[in-house]
Amino acid sequence: MYRTLRVCSSRGGFEAIPDPPRELDLTVVRARLEAADVPVVDARVLLIARLESEVTISRTGRLLFKTADSALADRTFARLRPLLEGGGASPDGAARGR
C-alpha cells in the first residue's frame, strides 16, 4: 500500500501516499492504534497519532510525519504501516524511494 516516504511540500516533515490510491476507514485505524497503545486524536476526517513523531493520518491515506529528522520519520513509518495495513509486527525495513 505504501512504498515511499518523501519530504513534504513545506519541507517541515515527510509524507507517504498510498499507491495505488486507497481510502482508509479511520474508525478501524483508530481502533488498531488504540489497541497498540498509541495515543490518538480523532478529528473525524483525520487522525493524529502520537508515535515517536506525531503523524497526521488522512482519510485519503496520506500520512504526514511532523519531523524534519528522516531517521525518526523512517522509524515511525515502520511502526505505523502494519497498523494501517492490518498486519501484526512492524516491518524491519525502512521506507524506500525517498
Binding site: C8, R11, G12, G13, V41, A43, R44, L64, A68
Partner: protein, 208 residues
C-alpha cells in the same frame, strides 16, 4: 496613537502589516492562534522571531498572547461542515482576538490579509468571518500583491523567518469554500457551543 491587537500567524504577511502600523506609532499586542496538533512548533517559533525583530526595530514591547486553537479545530472538524472550515476557523480567531483586545483596552484589530491570496481571503469570506466581531479591523496590506509584500518582508528580515520549513495547517479541507454566506455559517455554529469554546481558549491563553 491607538492600541490594537494583531493576529500573527508566522507567515510572510502579518509581520509586514505589523511593521506598517508600528511605523505610524500605534501600540500593538500580538495574538497567535496555536494550531497544534494540526501544525508543528514552527508557526509559534516564527512569530516569536518576527516579534524579536520588530521589537528591536521599533523599540516597543509588543506582548504576545498564545491562544490554544487545536481543540477548537477538532470541534469544528467533528461537528460542522468541513467545506466552510476555514471561514469557521477564522471566526473563532477573530473572537479570541477581540476578547483579548477588550481585556487589554485595545480598540481595533489588525490582520495581514491581502485580497485573494488564500481561500479565506476572498471578499465574501472576509465579510463572513469578520461578522463575528464588533471592533474595527485594519488590513494594511489589503491591496498589495504578493511580490510587494515579499519585498517589504525581505527588507525587514522577516521573510527568511517566514519561509523556514514548517508543517502547513492539516485542518485545511481539500477544497475550501471561497464563497460563504452568513446564514449557513450561523446554522453551522448552532451545532456547537461558541461561547464556551471562546471562554476556554481565552482562559487558557498564555502571555509570553
Amino acid at each position: 496613537m491607538a492600541r490594537g491587537v494583531m493576529l500573527m500567524s508566522g507567515g510572510i504577511d502579518s509581520p509586514v502589516a505589523m511593521h506598517y502600523l508600528l511605523r505610524q506609532g500605534h501600540e500593538l499586542l500580538a495574538v497567535h492562534m496555536d494550531n497544534r496538533p494540526f501544525t508543528d512548533d514552527s508557526p509559534l517559533e516564527k512569530v516569536v522571531d518576527h516579534l524579536a525583530l520588530l521589537r528591536e526595530r521599533y523599540q516597543q514591547a509588543i506582548p504576545l498572547y498564545v491562544v490554544p486553537h487545536g481543540s477548537t479545530q477538532i470541534t469544528l472538524m467533528r461537528e460542522t461542515d468541513r467545506h466552510v472550515g476555514c471561514v469557521m476557523c477564522r471566526r473563532f480567531m477573530w473572537r479570541s482576538a477581540e476578547r483579548i483586545a477588550e481585556r487589554e483596552g485595545a480598540t481595533f484589530l489588525v490582520t495581514g490579509e491581502a485580497l485573494g491570496q488564500v481561500a479565506s481571503q476572498t471578499l465574501s469570506n472576509m465579510r463572513t468571518a469578520t461578522a463575528s466581531v464588533h471592533l474595527p479591523i485594519v488590513r494594511p496590506l489589503i491591496g498589495l500583491d504578493k511580490q510587494e509584500i515579499e519585498a517589504v518582508a525581505k527588507s525587514l528580515g522577516t521573510y527568511e523567518i517566514s519561509t523556514r520549513p514548517g508543517v502547513c495547517c492539516q485542518a485545511v479541507p481539500p477544497k475550501p469554500a471561497t464563497r460563504s454566506n452568513l446564514v449557513q455559517i450561523l446554522q453551522e455554529e448552532e451545532r456547537i457551543d461558541v461561547e464556551q469554546i471562546i471562554d476556554d481558549c481565552v482562559r487558557k491563553a498564555v502571555l509570553l
